[in-house]
């Protein structure tokens, strides 16, 4: 299981990095979203993997997973949505204002 999660994080990170290195806004936004997934899963996994032990207290539970990374990741997910939304709007704004969606200063100098 650990190997699967690690490889998933690796692939998502790689894809995210590749996409943020593109020269147009939309792929960069996608890349940021991918990196958010990767980072959130990474942070979550620092609490170590446990199956069937949710951090909800009950009399029948045999044990609990680490709740702290989950709490941190939960807010991180919401905040990364907010950041994605801001970036999307910036991308949109620059496209509407300049007529192209390139991100490099050098390329739209005329």
């Amino acid at each position: 299981m650990e190997a699967l999660v690690a490889s998933a994080v690796a692939v998502m990170t790689a894809v995210g990095v590749y996409l943020i290195l593109r020269r147009q806004t939309f792929p960069v936004v996608l890349g940021m979203a991918m990196l958010s997934y990767a980072v959130n899963v990474f942070l979550f996994a620092t609490g170590r993997l446990v199956v069937n032990m949710p951090p909800v207290l009950s009399d029948t539970a045999t044990g609990y997973t680490d709740p702290l990374p989950q709490a941190l990741v939960l807010t991180a997910i919401v905040i990364s949505f907010a950041m994605t939304a801001v970036v999307v709007l910036l991308a949109l704004g620059s496209f509407i204002a300049s007529g192209n969606d390139g991100i490099d200063l050098g390329e739209d100098r005329e």
């Binding site: 299981m1 650990e2 699967l4 999660v5 490889s7 998933a8 994080v9 690796a10 692939v11 998502m12 990170t13 790689a14 894809v15 590749y18 996409l19 943020i20 290195l21 593109r22 020269r23 939309f26 792929p27 936004v29 996608l30 991918m34 997934y37 990767a38 899963v41 979550f44 620092t46 609490g47 993997l49 199956v51 951090p55 909800v56 207290l57 609990y64 709740p67 941190l72 990741v73 939960l74 807010t75 919401v78 905040i79 949505f81 907010a82 994605t84 939304a85 801001v86 999307v88 709007l89 991308a91 949109l92 704004g93 509407i96 007529g99 969606d101 991100i103 200063l105 050098g106 100098r109």
Partner: protein
């Protein structure tokens, strides 16, 4: 009064003018004056104790382990400076009230002035050198603001920048020196450093510390060759010149040298460095002053010269010289501030301060004439005025100090300085007030009202009173000098007549020579005008130009405007640093066994990996890319469910939905295809990203296979979630209780992000962007029916159910997976569905609450719930809970955390809806009128 309070008072007073300025300049000045007077009263209350030789101290520990504490100490030296700062400050406030023109923003002026006053007071009262350094930099900053107050004048801006660059550079050097000093002494408390004088003077790094500290003091006190900023700072309004640039701030360097005198002085390095710089500054400043025709420039160079004199006296290293230095600080502050204010009056009433255009003012402005003349004669060192007393003590000290083995050299040069000083003082009086009346003054001159002349009159009162009865100043000066030299002061009485001494003869020579200089005025001017223009200003300009072009070249070399390049560099640096960390540190053995994998999980993993790998291959088709992102998000959510994180799964899947909606809205405008990029670039990027992915994957794999090296705090959370937080869903309890502060911050960030989006969209809805929006034509064919009836009906039916689900998820959140975040997202999705089905206009017509207010209400409710804990005497955001039995319902729990979660819920709904609605408003504007009409119904 507590010393910390005295220091804080001016800062509090800085807030008043901004509030009071609406009631007029008088109210603003009164507010500032009140704070100053209160601080002054506080210092005066301690004065009897201080004059008796005791020191008052206050100490507030902050980080004692690092030697950081806010400790204040009021001894004789600090009291002398505090009285100068607050006393002259009060006079300056009065003067400035009448000096500033109606068009000047007076509230800002008084605020800056009070900021400076607080910073300067902080310097003199600090007993911790790190604290002192902070106040030191603050004076540089407030001086920058005040010099540049008339920011429409280029010379004011240039002068402000120059003053800041020179004094802040010196300040940086001084930080280094002070840290070395503290390192040697083993403490940053001045009172303890002063006790370690011998250890410091014998330390290996003493010369370095001395050089750095002197650099700071010399730049601040405008010593040669760093003096050039002071004359250019005269672009400031005259009250500022009188206050900062003659009476107080420029004496900060002098103060510091006096404060550290017991520690640093007495070595040959100190003697030659300090005495020489002071001497050269005294002579050079006086000489230049002789040739200046602008009254303020003349006074500025004279200030430079007198500061040099004080520094030179401190350099002598004898107790008598230190006494003379302290006395001259007091005297110079009184007559020079009065002179500056006089120059300001002349400028104000005649329209010029160029002495070539003045003359003959003695009958036209008799009050100003009287005041300025007395102050100038004191500056010249004429008997029966206070300047004479300290100048004579200076000459006396110089006569007894051998320099380079020569017994009379210093005496001769000091006499020379006094002579030139007398010369420019006489010239100031003669050319401004004496001579025939003119007919061509820019404005018809007359004396101002008492508002302007009262302040200099008080100072001239001090000049004359101390000049006639030196014993008046004796207690304060003795206490201050005692604090400088460390107690045992030579029994010197301040008095006018010491008998016929060498100093008296030197004084006589100086005054006679000064008078002679005045008679040779014309001849002198021709000879010296060119010489007087020399200073280091050109060097400064060259250094600044070089620094500027160097910085530009460096940043252009580092960053060529390509974001991809910058990001690639970032990733590569992280890779190298991470790789180095992996390679250089050992890693423990694997201690955790791998969890087994069941086939369903393997299929999910495969879907995730395949979708991810397809993304870089097919991302140029942007809609397809969104589908792929959706698959990945879904798989991540399922992973969370499987790995015991139901809350995360719920959040992830709901966020996924709103994210995709958001991206679709953006894609409405953006091109649906990305451009192809050249293959080599893609290959390079692929290599970089593969490296990053491998690194991160290896890191998390290594982490997951090992146990925690130390017990985590999660055990505490699990144990106390129910007993302390009243909930069984530990993740939710952490969010709303244990880490409630973090969550509170996060919802604020969320709200801010939504407001940013709203503002950005608003910009796009204005010209010239609006014109582009209106002219925009869809690049894809539109559906024939924008609002299919099936969708409309379905969403309407789903809405109440979805809202109920939201409420359910919210209510169960404390004890089962769910809570404010998830509930907020679910409700948002239900609402967004209505937008999608029926259009913006339809939805907005039925919208009851502004989303802005939802965000505000959410943050407010969360905050108020937190504050509620205060009334129970608990810290912010401590939750309380209890059980309520309401028939016919089951017994249920009510926790204050629920109020907090409600705030979270409202903020999430408001933020998500505001973001999406802003985007849809853009699409709405871009629609053709025809389509819009179809929606409005």
């Amino acid at each position: 009064m507590n010393l910390a309070l005295i220091v804080i008072l001016p800062f509090l007073g800085a807030l008043l003018p901004g509030v009071l300025i609406r009631s007029g300049r008088t109210a603003a000045a009164l507010g500032a004056g009140l704070a100053t007077a209160a601080a002054l009263a506080g210092v005066l209350a301690h004065l009897p104790q201080v004059l008796a030789g005791e020191a008052v101290a206050t100490r507030i520990d902050w980080l004692p382990a690092l030697g950081l504490s806010a400790s204040f100490r009021l001894d004789g030296l600090a009291a002398l400076f505090a009285l100068l700062i607050l006393g002259i400050g009060l006079l300056i406030l009065l003067y400035a009230r009448f000096y500033l023109a109606r068009s000047d923003p007076a509230g800002r002026f008084f605020t800056y002035l009070m900021l400076f006053q607080g910073a300067m007071l902080g310097i003199v009262l600090s007993d911790n050198i790190l604290l002192l350094l902070i106040f030191w930099e603050l004076t540089s900053l407030s001086s920058f603001l005040l010099i540049g107050y008339w920011s429409h004048k280029p010379e004011a801006r240039a002068g402000a920048l120059m003053a800041l660059v020179v004094t802040a550079t010196g300040g940086l050097a001084m930080i280094g020196g002070m840290l070395i000093l503290g390192g040697i002494a083993g403490s940053y408390e001045i009172s303890e450093i002063v006790g370690a004088g011998d250890a410091i003077r014998n330390a290996q790094h003493y010369p370095l510390a001395l050089a750095l500290i002197l650099l700071g003091a010399f730049t601040k006190s405008a010593q040669f060759p760093f003096h050039f900023w002071l004359p250019r700072a005269m672009a400031a309004p005259t009250p500022v010149s009188a206050y900062l640039h003659s009476a107080t701030m420029v004496k900060a360097g002098v103060f510091l040298l006096a404060r550290l005198w017991p520690v640093l002085s007495g070595t040959p390095e100190w003697f030659y460095a300090v005495t020489t710089v002071g001497l050269v500054t005294m002579l050079w400043g006086a000489t230049v002053a002789l040739f200046r025709t602008d009254l303020k420039a003349l006074l500025a160079y004279s200030t430079v010269s007198h500061l040099g004199l004080i520094i030179m006296l401190l350099g002598f290293g004898t107790k008598a010289a230190a006494l003379a230095a302290v006395f001259h600080i007091l005297n110079h502050a009184s007559f020079k501030a009065a002179l500056f204010m006089g120059a300001g009056i002349i400028d104000h009433e005649t329209g010029t301060r160029d002495i070539d255009l003045l003359g003959g003012l003695r009958r036209l402005m008799p009050i100003t004439f009287g005041l300025a003349t007395l102050a100038a004669l004191s500056m010249a060192g004429v008997p029966l005025l206070n300047g004479f007393l300290s100048k004579e003590m200076m000459l006396e000290a110089a006569a007894h100090t051998p320099y380079l083995g020569n017994g009379w050299l210093l005496a001769a040069l000091a006499t020379m300085g006094a002579l030139i000083s007398a010369g420019y003082s006489f010239r100031l009086i003669a050319l401004t007030f004496l001579g025939p009346e003119r007919t061509d003054y820019p404005k018809p001159p007359h004396d101002p009202g008492p508002g302007l002349w009262l302040s200099p009159a008080v100072l001239v009162g001090v000049v004359v009173a101390v000049g006639l009865w030196p014993a008046l100043a004796q207690p304060l000066v003795a206490a201050a000098a005692g604090a400088v030299v460390g107690g045992d002061l030579p029994a010197v009485a301040l008095k006018i007549w010491h008998g016929v001494t060498p100093a008296l003869a030197m004084s006589g020579i100086a005054l006679a020579g000064g008078a002679l200089l005045l008679t040779q005025q014309r001849r002198l001017q021709r000879a010296g005008a060119a010489l007087a223009r020399l200073d280091a200003g050109a060097v400064y300009a060259a250094v600044m130009a070089a620094a500027e072009s160097g910085a530009r070249r460096l940043s252009e070399a580092l960053h060529d405007g390509s974001m991809a390049r910058a990001l690639a560099a970032l990733v590569l640096v992280a890779l190298v640093a991470g790789g180095w960390g992996f390679a250089s540190a050992g890693i423990g053995p694997q201690t955790r066994p791998m969890l087994a994998v069941n086939p369903v999980v393997a299929v999910g993993w495969l879907a995730l990996i395949v979708a991810s790998l397809c993304l870089p291959l097919f991302h140029r088709d942007r809609l397809l890319a969104l589908v792929l992102i959706g698959i990945i998000g879904l798989m991540v959510s399922i992973g969370f469910v499987y790995l015991s994180a139901p809350d995360l799964a719920l959040t992830q899947i709901t966020v996924e939905v709103v994210t995709v909606v958001l991206m679709l809205l953006a894609l409405n405008f953006l091109p649906k295809q990305s451009m192809a990029e050249p293959a080599p670039r893609r290959a390079l990027d692929a290599a970089i990203s593969a490296g990053a992915g491998l690194g991160i994957g290896a890191l998390i794999y290594a982490l997951m296979r090992r146990d925690f090296s130390a017990p985590t705090i999660s055990g505490y959370h699990l144990e106390n979630a129910y007993s302390g937080g009243g909930g069984t869903n530990v993740v939710n309890v952490i969010l709303v209780d244990f880490r409630g502060y973090d969550t509170f911050g996060e919802i604020i960030v969320l709200g801010i992000a939504a407001l940013v989006i709203y503002a950005l969209a608003d910009v796009l809805l204005r010209r010239p962007n609006l014109r582009r929006l209106m002219a925009w034509s869809p690049d894809q064919p539109r559906a024939g029916d924008a609002h299919p009836v099936m969708l409309v009906v379905a969403t309407r039916l789903v809405l109440p159910v979805a809202l109920m689900v939201g409420v359910y998820i919210f209510l169960r959140g404390h004890n089962a997976p769910g809570g404010g975040f998830v509930a907020g997202l679910v409700v948002s999705i239900a609402l967004v569905m209505q937008y999608m089905a029926s259009g913006l206009a339809w939805a907005e017509a039925r919208q009851r609450f502004e989303y802005h207010s939802l965000i505000g209400a959410g943050v407010l409710i969360a905050g108020l719930t937190g504050l509620g804990a205060w009334f129970m005497g608990r810290p912010f955001l401590t939750s309380a809970f209890g059980y309520v039995h309401l028939p016919p319902l089951e017994k249920f729990e009510l926790a204050s955390a629920m109020g907090f979660d409600l705030g979270v819920f409202l903020t999430v709904v408001g933020a998500v809806m505001l973001a999406l609605a802003s985007l849809s408003r853009l699409s709405w504007r871009a629609m053709t009128d025809e389509r819009r009409r179809g929606e409005g119904s």
